[in-house]
Symmetry: C2
Subunit: 328 residues, 2 copies
């Protein structure tokens, strides 16, 4: 257990250099048996236990994983946070939590992660520029984009198959007999919202089903407000595909407020399968994101790149599944 | 910007010891002008920038704050996480996130926090033994219990005034004409649940209003299940005080499932004022916890103890307020 004693104190008492103390505890260049004994005796006398920082100074590696997250107001992300914390904890790693209020990860955040010599970085709902990825690459720090991807394929990303999922959702609604539909998007610059829109609208176009696109922001309030505007415009479609669950709950509440019967008058389907989707008051039909498997793939990539950095790139997409409840 | 080059590389190129490199960048014992020049030349050639770990090895301090949290499934805690991340970020500190699945903080968690030489620790919904507090005290690491307190006053805690709040809640319901009441508790070993029960039941006893206590667990499912059992037993009171909001939402959904009219047939009041309490489908009357102020007090204590460790103890309680909505 640590107690405020550091390598300098041990070196002083043992009458050796601080780097000798480091070598005894962390390997590296050899150290004489005499020095080793002096250091161990001093360490024992002082109750010194080497700390993570000392180790990192020698190995240039830590057991910290940077997790960059934006939307803790969407219950999907606290679930993701818990998943990563549990997995990495079991492997002896700790989460350095970076909350960003910006769409794009900021220069300060990157510098902080580099200063702490994180062993790996996971970026969830924030986006990042290619320049930023280069900074991590130069430092041989593996990065995973989780539930996001960018166009140029020079990084590693893990997500669900949004294109295929949204095609399936469209197919499901067509088979339910829906004649016209609405897609309510999330933040427009996110890959998830873009892909869900693409798969959904392509399938509808192939089947000659008319649809409208409404832009919103992945929040409950956004979903509520957008649905309210659609209702007020008298433009209620026979089905809504809402780009995430938390917005879909807002849509359901806006419809309920106007006593519009779901699923009789219109149907609603979300995306994520957050816990609240199953609550009896909502009973939301949705597409389940396989968070546990997505997290597992992410952890496995990061650990293998920590062991041997190969700068492997790629995009892993894990299929989710439709969870049919009572809003369709 | 860091680039994988460490103090050892600089020392090697400069032909000096690693501790000389440290002294050049972080002070400590003096170093000759000749050595200093050699080190700076080597550092420049290699593009070496000293990192946080190197600094911490010398100063024995980091800019990491350990945040221990259990219930990320309760939206109250992601809000708390965001509050702390934002505040500490502004001050140049980063959050080391520790998620525990246990009621009590575990030995491994403590050791990890000590190994990383955190500058301070915030413990939210987990409890901790007095022995654990001693470990932090021995290392002069300030600790705050946030939204929790323990009996023996040898630590610092920040919360809301639960006793007074629950007395006010009882008074409010009595004035609404409620003739018998139920208290649905959270996890039984938590100070919040115990104090809310105490204040509520004392005020009811003083006013000779009968009440029953039901034990639950601070989760949506717990609230739903407990309310369902009460309904099935035909024991519906004229008002429920539910120890937190997320349980209160479960109670409302169980009542709605049985078409029991709120607030006509029975009233429900929660605690926290999480975002969802304001959603139109719930419109939950609740007691708002002043999270922002509570976080501010916590940050201010930790920063002052980092600057000068005085092991100040105490309990700061900030008053919240009743938010009356439609369930009463």
């Amino acid at each position: 257990m640590s107690n405020g004693i550091n390598a300098r104190d041990v070196a002083k008492l043992a009458g050796v250099s601080q780097s000798s103390v480091s070598r005894v505890f962390f390997g590296g260049a050899s150290v004489s048996e005499k020095t080793r004994k002096k250091v161990l005796a001093a360490a024992e006398e002082l109750g010194y236990v080497p700390n993570e920082f000392a180790r990192s100074l020698i190995t240039n590696k830590t057991r910290l994983i940077g997790l960059v997250m934006k939307g803790v107001h969407n219950p999907f992300y606290p679930q993701v946070l818990q998943e990563f914390t549990t997995h990495f904890n079991e492997l002896g790693y700790t989460i350095l939590f970076v909350h960003t209020n910006h769409d794009e990860i900021q220069k300060e955040d990157i510098e902080m992660l580099l200063h702490y010599h994180v062993a790996g970085v996971i970026i969830t709902d924030a986006t990042l520029s290619l320049k930023v990825i280069e900074e991590f690459k130069n430092n041989k720090i593996p990065v995973v984009l989780f539930n996001r991807k960018v166009e140029e394929p020079n990084f590693f990303s893990v997500g669900t198959n949004n294109l295929e999922a949204s095609r399936q959702i469209a197919k499901f609604l067509i088979e339910k007999g829906c004649k016209d539909m609405a897609y309510i998007s999330g933040a427009r610059n996110t890959s998830t919202s873009i892909e869900r829109e693409k798969g959904f609208s392509e399938m509808l176009a192939e089947n000659k089903v008319p649809y409208k696109i409404y832009h919103s922001d992945y929040s409950y309030d956004g979903g509520f407000k957008t649905a309210k505007e659609i209702i007020q415009a008298g433009d209620i479609p026979s089905a809504f595909f809402v780009a995430n669950d938390i917005m879909a709950l807002g849509v359901l509440d806006a419809l309920r407020e106007q006593s519009i019967d779901v699923p009789a008058k219109t149907k609603v389907i979300g995306f994520d399968n957050i816990e609240m989707a199953a609550w009896p008051i909502y009973n939301l039909t949705t597409w389940e994101q396989p968070i546990a498997q997505m997290a597992k793939e992410t952890v496995s990539y990061i650990i293998s790149e920590i062991e041997e950095y190969t700068d492997r790139i790629g995009n892993i997409e894990i299929n989710g599944e439709l969870i049919e409840r009572k809003t369709t």
